[in-house]
Amino acid sequence: MASTQRAVSPGAALLRSSRLFSMPSPIAPPPGYMSQATKHKSETATAAFPTHLTVTTPSASRMVGDWGFKRPLPLKTTTKSTFPLVRVKKVDSIEHVTDFQSASDHTITLEKFREMNMSFSVPVPKEMMLNPTLISVFEDGRDFTTPAPSNLKGAMGPRSDGDPLKLRWKFRGPWLAGMTDGEFDRYISKSVRARRSEFRQFLRERLAAQKTADRNSSIAEQDLNTPQTAIPAVKAEEITEEDLLEYTRGLRGDRHELFNLVSKFLDLAPVSNADSALAPGMLGHYMPDKKYDLYRDSPYAADGPPITHPSAGLSYLRTQNFMENHPLYGPQQKHASIKARIVTPRFGVTNQNPKIGVNGFIANIPAVETSFSNRRRNDSSAVSSRDAIPGLNDFDPSQLGGSKVYVQVQTANVDATGKVQLRLLDRDPETDIVQKETVGEFDTFAHAVKEASQPTPKFQVPSGERKYMPNRKFGSAPNYGLGGSSLRDF
């Protein structure tokens, strides 16, 4: 390698190792970012993911504006922010200013996300949503980026169940279902049209392999004694134009096979065929006696493969199957609830699904019926879910700092546009109470005393909180050897 490494001057060597040179170039903004095509947008809104490096500086240098760039950054803005975090879009511009803005939004969001101990899992299909099997994106069978040549060869042949190709998350071709018409036209004219002859060669090889297989099987049927290795395989050069024409005509009738071939040639991302003509029930119309290689197993077929690694670098945990320990109540069955913000209530100017902000990420309420959902239950005695979470249905101006709710997050995954989707679970009142008590928002003991001192217990606890119930699942002091038969002892 000494020959390839050119000798450079000491200044050049120094510059190569400098921090300015080690700044990565900014990545592309979110694809399919259609907000630019709308009338209502904000340039300064926090983007779905960071595109620039975050830079920080020691406090002494920050006081004089020295951030290591061409000129000192203005003190008025940079010294007043809580966190010394900055993203520099241009080190110098034509206007002789350094273009920068605060980067605390993404940086602090990352920090908050790490505090959640969340692991990223492969997306779960909608029909499995109720009882999903969560697979980490870091599992060996899932986490590979480029198809190895051996894998590609395997993909050419008959499909095997252990084919890992369908499980990968990175494809060289686009995800057709996520393209607009204009993008698709451009892709066809720019990328695909130039590869016609290449595709014909691909078809030749394919046809040659098919012919070899057919001949082998026919010979095997006729004469069992002939060894198959003795017969030479059909080569791609031996395929005549007429054969190829015939084969192409056949393919035009078999749309599914054609799609399979094209997607293998272009390495297209798998497309969900649940609603299309390629749905399993419809296939018999085309080729009744044919075995089809479906890409149904790809977890990214429904919503598209992610543009980054499916963990987006936000978390490197493989699982959430660990127990949290509480100093008083011992090991907890569930993870600590997360205090979330009700960003959009259900009934506003535009009635829509409420949006919950969990540590800076907007999440939908659970799709199944939970305490978040709007329906009244059949039983009239239960606490109506409409009032269970204050501020969920209507904006509550009396709440200082906005309405909050404690939530449980099941899993996270990255969608095709690079956004993080958090899947929320139904609330667990006991876990909420434990967490509230930990952060000092709820006093179990005072609550219990108050309950006991009231002559007539209330039927319902206002504002959606559950009563204190000493004989519940979480542990108590006597159970863990702390002594005392009642709460008064400690």
């Binding site: 001057s9 200044g11 050049a12 110098d92 002789h96």
Partner: protein, 423 residues
């Protein structure tokens, strides 16, 4: 007592490592050890015990415990100094002002750390700077560090020699934030500084801009020569600097133009968008970063300081590194002539009073404007009868003070001028 506990924990090993235990150390070791005290005494401070045991005959009831404790602590500090974490020097933005780097400290690392390599946006460059540019990164031109270092060393050499030859140096930095840099460089190099707007015409039209600017004449050891030259100073025009160092040439084009008209050499920090031919000695570097400017300013200031130091040493050894300006030479010759004439006139008058009237032609040669002043009392001529002006070599180290209002008193000991403006 934290020190003592720490000593108990760590001190024994350290003390054991020292080969011969001196008396103080032994005592210290005993004070530290937990075994010598035996049974714990209620009031047992080991230091007290040691004091009582060493001086049993001392009747003083209150031994000097503070001194003893202090000595013990010092001893411990000496012995325990190599133990534990070493606190290394970390970078602080004030380092460049507390301990300014000199020309010997110029390294590529220092220049890179002070952002000297960052030029301007690639589209606003001046192609004359192509030879200083290393490449493009992050959309900006990168200035070659080697070029910067070489040019900075050359400029430092220029400043040093000008200071050595008694020249008048002016540091100019008129952008906000450059005040401290400029004043520090001027203080080091015993030079002048300017951190406000350059009044156009200060050099080319100094008779109007700087009328009656107070100046002073000093000798080779920078001592003022007294009122002997007051007559000359009254007629004297304002001074022109011998070297101008400009931190931001882009905003000071007028000044650089005047300097070039007056044949004053200039040193300037040339960023990639600046025309390098505006200055005589260009230093290709980033002119926006205050950190870079502080480094360059302090290097040049240190260079000037070295030049001044060398000049003073030579002056003490009797070597004068500069020549007396021609106007002062001329003035001194006239003064000597006048002294001779007045002496002769006095002698003739004395002879006339003794013998008769003197010749009238002599009094007519005396210029009428100097008639009210007696130059015979100038110390230079009065020290002895010989014309000592050449031996004295009075320096016309005339300081031009551009902005006296903001100048500090100790910028240069030679500045004894009164403010020119009323404010």
């Amino acid at each position: 007592m934290i020190i003592r506990e720490f000593g108990v924990r760590h001190g024994r090993k350290v003390l054991a490592a020292a080969a011969p235990l001196r008396r103080g150390q032994q005592q210290c070791l005993r004070a530290l050890s937990t075994e010598t005290s035996g049974t714990p005494v209620a009031t047992a401070d080991p230091a007290v015990e040691a004091a009582l045991q060493t001086n049993p005959e001392n009747p003083s009831p209150v031994p000097s415990l503070f001194a003893r404790d202090w000595e013990t602590a010092q001893q411990l500090r000496r012995n325990l100094m190599p133990v534990g974490t070493k606190v290394e020097h970390r970078y602080s933005p004030n380092d460049v002002f507390r301990n300014p780097p000199g020309p010997k400290d110029v390294t590529l690392e220092l220049l890179m750390a002070s952002q000297a390599h960052m030029g301007h946006h690639a589209s606003v460059w001046n192609p004359a700077n192509a030879r200083y540019i290393f490449g493009i990164r992050e959309g900006i031109h990168i200035i070659s560090l080697e070029q910067t270092a070489a040019h900075l060393r050359r400029a430092a050499r220029v400043v040093e020699e000008v200071a050595y030859h008694g020249g008048l140096i002016l540091f100019v930095g008129t952008r906000p934030g450059q005040t401290q840099i400029v004043t520090q460089a001027a203080r080091l190099a015993k030079a002048c500084h300017l951190f406000t707007k350059w009044t156009p015409g200060t050099i080319t039209n100094s008779d109007k801009i700087l009328p009656g600017i107070p100046v002073e004449i000093v000798d080779e050891l920078d001592r003022p020569v007294g009122p002997a030259f007051n007559q000359h100073l009254m007629d004297r025009r304002a001074l022109v600097p011998d070297l101008v160092v400009c931190l931001n040439p882009l905003e000071n084009f007028t000044m650089l133009r005047e300097c070039s008209q007056a044949n004053v050499p200039t040193i300037g920090i040339i960023d990639t968008n600046t025309e390098p031919t505006w200055v005589t000695y260009a230093i290709p570097a980033n002119d926006d970063s205050l950190r870079c400017l502080a480094v360059i300013g302090s290097v040049l200031g240190r260079a000037g300081e070295q030049g001044q130091k060398r000049r003073m040493e030579d002056a003490k050894n009797g070597k004068v590194t500069w020549e007396t300006p021609s106007e002062i030479k001329q003035f001194m010759e006239i003064q000597q002539k006048r002294a001779r004439w007045s002496k002769r006139a006095a002698e003739e008058e004395a002879a006339a009073t003794s013998g008769g009237g003197g010749p009238n032609g002599q009094s007519s040669t005396t210029p009428p404007k100097s008639s009210d002043r007696s130059y015979g009392r100038t110390p230079s001529t009065n020290r002895d009868g010989t014309p000592i002006f050449h031996a004295d070599e009075a320096l016309a180290e005339l300081q031009m003070e551009v902005d006296l209002v903001n100048a500090e008193e100790d910028v240069s000991p030679q500045l004894r001028n009164t403010p020119r403006r009323g404010d």
